[in-house]
């Protein structure tokens, strides 16, 4: 069966309940298809039990479903083992886990951590905290005016002092897709470890962690048609084995005594406490949804939307931020003499949901010398007709605000 936008849209209750809302805030969170919602409801109706260790039937069932999601996630990103998948509450939690555990393990005074200038604050602040504690130094990999990472600067910054490099696969405010495979080989050449924030890439492009050869890859379920409160931390087995545990509690222990506690095997070592069982089980259905369409179809459709929106906005004379050759389906823009907040308010009144502001990337805004942008971000269920509606609204907003 070919790509059918009607078939896709029919699977999203939010879209069908909120007509005529045009939802272009997908980089913040996507809507959820019926199968994800049904699975979460079914879990609470039929299977709700705490996982692992329960000998009773529903606990077994819930555990199987939970572990099934882990295996599906591992297959989805081509991880070598399912125990390389750690479930967290989101990308931010995954990165915080890493900044804590990895820095305990590898960072010492004078070491360097490289982050790019186009990171979300979630991939800056945890590393700043870690570096402060350890007396290590943060170094910033800049980007150019087009919003592309300066690879020559990366080469200069990398040295034997570099212990960790944290970088996004796709930027949430510029859309830029970074070449992780190339970066990984460079980082590994100096003996560093590469942490990738994949929150904005996973919804749009096929992720193959073994092909890219990154050491860690973090992403969120809710940005890829799954529930909120579920994040993934992929880590290479040897790193996950070597790092110390994160939070202490149930599930993550082997034996506890006041003399000595030993920790559970992977992946449970990093999953203290009762996880978001319903969410993790629901997440598998989001992965199924993506697989049922296929990334090549998703990419093709989203690029069509991106190209069309960009072309139409350009006709209106707006300024774009982020013009890399390879981008995910989002546009950051401003019209001259308009403020992003005003623009967002007018679009909201015209039933269009976009995001405005600095998008938690103040260094990016600082680079361009602006307080923020308007960001329209597209998902697989968006349409050309919606972009037409959006363009008409932009014309109206521009007229009200700048004329």
């Amino acid at each position: 069966m070919g790509f059918s936008i009607d078939n896709i849209r029919a699977q999203f209750p939010f879209i069908n309940q909120n007509n005529p809302l045009v939802y272009f805030d997908n980089a913040a969170t996507t809507q959820k298809p019926q199968n994800v919602l049904d699975t979460i409801k079914d879990y609470y109706y039929l299977q709700n039990s705490n996982i692992h260790r329960g000998v009773h039937k529903t606990s077994q069932l819930a555990t199987d479903l939970f572990e099934d999601s882990r295996q599906s996630t591992a297959n989805f990103i081509n991880a070598a083992h399912s125990h390389e998948i750690i479930f967290t509450s989101g990308t931010t939690a995954s990165i915080n886990l890493l900044s804590h555990c990895l820095s305990l393990f590898t960072l010492k005074k004078g070491d360097e951590v490289l982050v790019s200038q186009m990171e979300h604050h979630s991939n800056i602040v945890p590393w700043q905290l870690a570096c402060e504690q350890k007396g290590a130094i943060i170094k910033v990999i800049p980007f150019n005016k087009k919003g592309e990472l300066c690879h020559d600067q990366l080469d200069t910054l990398l040295s034997e002092k570099t212990k960790i490099v944290a970088i996004n696969h796709a930027s949430n405010s510029l859309g830029t897709i970074n070449n992780i495979k190339m970066i990984a080989s460079k980082v590994h050449a100096v003996g560093g470890v590469l942490v990738v924030d994949g929150a904005q890439a996973a919804p749009h492009i096929k992720i193959d962690v073994r092909d890219m050869d990154c050491d860690f890859y973090c992403f969120s379920a809710h940005k890829m048609y799954g529930p909120t409160g579920v994040g993934v931390l992929y880590g290479k087995e040897n790193w996950l084995e070597k790092m110390p545990p994160y939070q202490g509690g149930g599930e993550m222990i082997k034996d506890v005594s006041f003399k000595k506690t030993t920790f559970a095997e992977l992946p449970h070592k990093y999953e203290a406490g009762t996880p978001n069982i319903a969410g993790v089980i629901g997440f598998k259905k989001a992965l199924d949804f993506i697989s049922s369409i296929g990334y090549s179809e998703i990419e093709q459709h989203e690029q069509l939307l991106l190209d069309y929106a960009e072309k139409e906005l350009e006709k209106l004379g707006c300024v774009f931020y982020g013009r890399s050759n390879k981008r995910v389906s989002l546009l950051s823009f401003l019209f001259e003499k308009t403020h992003h907040y005003d623009f967002g308010v007018i679009l909201d009144n015209l039933n269009i949901a976009v995001r405005t502001g600095h998008h938690c990337t103040q260094p990016v805004m600082g680079f361009y010398g602006i307080p923020g942008t308007v960001r329209a971000s597209f998902a697989v269920y968006n349409t050309i007709e919606e972009i037409d509606f959006f363009i008409t609204a932009c014309i109206k907003a521009k007229k009200m605000l700048a004329e």
Binding site: H339, Y341, D342, V345, G357, H358
Partner: protein, 142 residues
């Protein structure tokens, strides 16, 4: 001299004339253009109220028992709303300002601009307006 309540009623009546959102916003944007200005040199960190979405500057003075406010914002819709608050609260005795409600903003259909998610600096500005009034009130009663 009109009191706070009377001015609020006046504003509600003005906005009642509009039957669609875009005329209402155009009027609001127009109102923003006549807000008593904050000079460039007064746009300091101290006078800045940082919203996540838009920035507001607020300065206050005290004359003949009344608080005089001036304000500015980088967003024109925010500035229009700032203008409405100034029309209500500026040139009033501090004691009146301290206890005043601002339900008029709800009645003219701009309540969402005071919500948490907007983070446009207006909620903090209202707090700052009250704080100035409290300070001038205390000073007057010394």
């Amino acid at each position: 001299m009109k009191n706070i309540e009377k001015i609020q009623k006046e504003i509600i009546n003005e906005f009642a004339l509009f039957d669609n959102w875009s005329d209402k916003y155009e009027y609001l944007i127009e109102l923003g253009k006549s807000v008593p200005v904050v000079l460039e040199k007064e746009k300091t960190e101290d006078n800045l109220i940082k919203g996540c979405q838009s920035r507001v500057w607020l300065v206050a003075g005290f004359k003949d028992g009344k608080v005089i406010y001036r304000a500015d914002s980088d967003a024109i819709i925010t500035k229009g709303l700032v203008g409405l608050f100034l029309r209500v609260f500026s040139n009033q005795p501090p004691r009146e300002i301290i206890g005043a409600d601002n339900s008029f903003i709800d009645k003219i259909g701009f309540k969402e601009h005071l919500s948490q998610t907007r983070a446009n600096g207006l909620v903090l500005m209202l707090k700052q307006i009250t704080l100035y009034a409290i300070a001038f009130n205390a000073k007057e009663n010394l």
